[in-house]
């Protein structure tokens, strides 16, 4: 931190447009990051596998949770990408659950290819095509008086949410701030990486992370997390998870460009009737100064296991030090008060 607690504004909190510059890189490349568009995630877990393979992340328990298709459960020392599965009684706009396809099927008039080709024409965006047909299409197709896959209020019953979670590479990263050894550092790409030859396993970064990302590897003692494939970035390659994603749900690139692309995608989804679509972690105004890896979600963040309003804990650190100093002075006063009477 010798590289400037003073001199750069917003070192602990708030927007920080030049995160690498604030960390001491004079001519840094643009900040790189992930945009994870969960609306096109198919839950294939290719990202989880690719991450483990590329980074040689060890196996972390082969168990069945019984709660969903998610047996990975969450991010940790040995899980740097985690695909969440959420099964809800709440539809994506116009989603067709694909039941009751018999000869009474009244959806012969729906050409899914035509529906798909119409998507993306509403809002200008080169983003990947949406899987949902227009919102009111299915409802129209259901004749009155007959049971259809569409419930009376025009909503289908079930939807799947799948989302690939990852380290957020925060603008203000609590793990990095509290690391006492300097093992965690800011790269020239604005990402946050652990140096495994420095980490002494103090574990402070683990409870500091507001997202529950970084953790200590049991048999190894050190802390591990996503490096945003620092080794691949160094030679101009995209991270393993983004490379392996078959639907481009995980998009890698300069953060500014990703933010633009994400905004366009949200507009496109809203136009298609997916009013639940919202961005998470893209705003530099949020509690961590914006995430380097942000998301397009279709429900509240906490449904995906993400905190709704994370704040970097070091925002309050100056106040904490002030209170501790005051408490130390109180302790001295208390001790002095104990000695006020003359010895007998």
């Amino acid at each position: 931190m010798s590289d400037g607690v003073e001199g750069h504004g917003n070192l602990l909190y708030g927007p920080q447009p030049d995160v690498a510059g604030a960390a001491g890189y004079p001519d840094a490349p643009p900040r790189m990051g992930f945009f994870t568009d969960t609306s096109v995630c198919i839950g294939c877990k290719a990202c989880e596998v690719a991450c483990k393979e590329w980074n040689a992340v060890p196996e972390d328990g082969l168990l069945l949770t019984g709660m969903s298709y998610d047996n990975t459960q969450g991010l940790g020392a040995d899980t740097w990408r985690h695909v969440a599965f959420i099964e809800q009684r709440k539809p994506l706009a116009g989603q067709e659950p694909g039941v009751a396809h018999d000869d009474h099927d009244d959806h012969d008039d729906i050409d899914v290819f035509a529906a798909a080709s119409r998507l993306g024409t509403g809002a200008a965006s080169p983003g990947p095509g949406a899987t949902a047909p227009p919102p009111d299409r299915a409802a129209e197709g259901a004749p009155a008086g007959e049971i259809s896959p569409v419930s009376p209020d025009g909503r289908t019953e079930l939807r799947w949410l799948m989302a690939s979670d990852v380290c957020k590479h925060c603008t203000h990263a609590a793990c990095l701030d509290v690391c006492p050894t300097g093992s965690l550092f800011r790269t020239e790409f604005g990402t946050v990486v652990v140096q495994e030859d420095i980490c002494n396993g103090c574990g402070y970064c683990v409870p500091a992370c507001p997202y529950g990302v970084i953790d200590q590897r049991k048999d190894d003692g050190r802390a591990w997390k996503c490096t945003l494939c620092y080794d691949r970035l160094g030679v101009g390659m995209e991270p393993a998870c983004a490379k392996s994603c078959p639907t481009d749900s995980i998009q890698f690139g300069p953060l500014e460009e990703l933010r633009e692309r994400a905004r366009a995608r949200v507009a496109q989804l809203h136009a298609a009737g997916v009013t639940d679509a919202r961005l998470y972690g893209e705003s530099p105004q949020d509690g961590v100064g914006g995430d380097g890896a942000f998301f397009l979600l279709l429900d509240e963040p906490e449904v995906y296991g993400l905190p709704p309003d994370p704040v970097v804990t070091t925002r309050d650190l100056p106040a904490m030090w002030r209170h501790a100093a005051l408490a130390a002075v109180s302790l001295v006063a208390l001790a002095a008060g104990s000695f006020v009477r003359r010895p007998r």
């Binding site: 529950g212 906490e302 106040a319 000695f339």
Partner: protein
């Protein structure tokens, strides 16, 4: 869920009838105790991912880290007693306080190193100085404080180099309060709800607890005639600790709940009783010739202070394990901002 028709040809109009909706009320079911304090905030509905925690809970071992918080407080406040004893000519009080501080800080350093995932790399703590990392600041404070207490204790035992000993005692008394209170920042500077939200009061709680423990040690081992400052320190420390802890819980809202539940609750109730009882007994012990009340008071104060640190530690871990304490306050914050 809708009904499906079972016919000769199979199931028609079947909907996926899964009965495990996620989201609403998926949080861990909470036990409601008949007795004890009622929660300060009514139950709030919240969503979570299958009730799984948002945060990764601390990996620190309770005995090492809560023990370290306790011993650091004991050492820091003992250094103040030692300096006061030196200034007022209480030789026996000074001897006990110096030896106590040196012993406690040695044990606490051992606990810190033992808790590391890579103990052989403990010197990496001194690679950098980072004001943003309470652990870095603490490491540097300790690397100054520990040699001073050891020097003060060594000259006390040897009975030589009095001048060096006095300087070391004074130096340790300067750093001691920092050792006793920075540990509150260490806990608060995390995303753990029940540690972070109390950051304004926790240093004062720890300061009071440090005072009661150091006073307790002195009451155990110092003759009644010289233990006057320890008795007053016990009373003042107990008032500071118990008073600020109540204020803290009141200001924390929902995140104070883990202090009232399970193991943390038992530890903290025990701590309250031992600290209050110990302080009262300490004041009474001045009026009797018998040493036993003072010894009992000392033991109660030492145990009460330890129970406080373990209680706070376990409450924090419990708050990190339940998504309620992460999600609900953040939701309320968003609602207050009108989003």
């Amino acid at each position: 869920m809708s009904e499906s028709d079972v016919t000769r040809d199979g199931v028609r109009h079947a909907r996926p009838g899964r009965q495990a909706p996620t989201g609403v009320r998926a949080g861990r079911r909470r036990r409601r105790r008949g007795r004890g304090e009622q929660p300060m905030v009514p139950d709030a509905e919240f969503s979570s991912y299958y009730g799984r925690p948002v945060l990764n809970k601390p990996t620190w071992k309770p005995l090492d880290i809560a023990g370290y918080l306790y011993l650091g407080g004991l050492a820091g406040a003992s250094s103040l007693l030692a300096a006061g004893a030196a200034a007022t000519g209480r030789a026996e009080l000074g001897r006990v306080a110096k030896l106590g501080a040196a012993g406690a800080i040695t044990l606490s350093l051992a606990a810190l190193v033992h808790d590391l995932g890579r103990p052989a790399r403990f010197l990496n703590m001194l690679r950098v100085f980072k004001p943003t990392s309470p652990m870095s600041v603490g490491s540097w404070i300790l690397s100054g404080y520990a040699p001073l207490t050891l020097a003060a204790a060594a000259t006390e035992v040897a009975g030589r180099y009095r001048l060096v000993g006095s300087a070391a005692t004074a130096g340790a008394a300067v750093l001691g309060p920092a050792v006793a209170t920075y540990t509150a920042v260490l806990l608060s500077d995390t995303a753990v709800p029940s540690w972070h939200e109390g950051y304004r009061q926790l240093p004062f709680v720890f300061a009071g607890s440090a005072a009661t423990s150091a006073a307790g040690l002195a009451l155990l081992a110092v003759p009644t005639a010289q233990a006057g400052p320890a008795r007053r320190m016990a009373a003042l420390g107990a008032v500071l600790e118990l008073g600020t802890f109540q204020v803290m819980k009141r200001r924390m809202g929902l995140t104070a709940e883990p202090f009232e539940q399970g193991r943390a609750h038992r530890l903290l109730r025990a701590s309250e009783a031992l600290t209050a009882g110990g302080a009262a007994l300490a004041l009474l012990s001045a009026r009797v010739r018998d040493r036993r009340p003072a010894v009992a008071a000392g033991a109660a104060l030492l145990t009460g202070s330890a129970a406080l640190r373990f209680g706070v530690f376990h409450a924090g871990v419990a708050s990190a394990e339940d998504p309620r304490y992460t999600v609900v306050p953040q939701r309320e914050r968003l609602r207050a901002r009108g989003r």
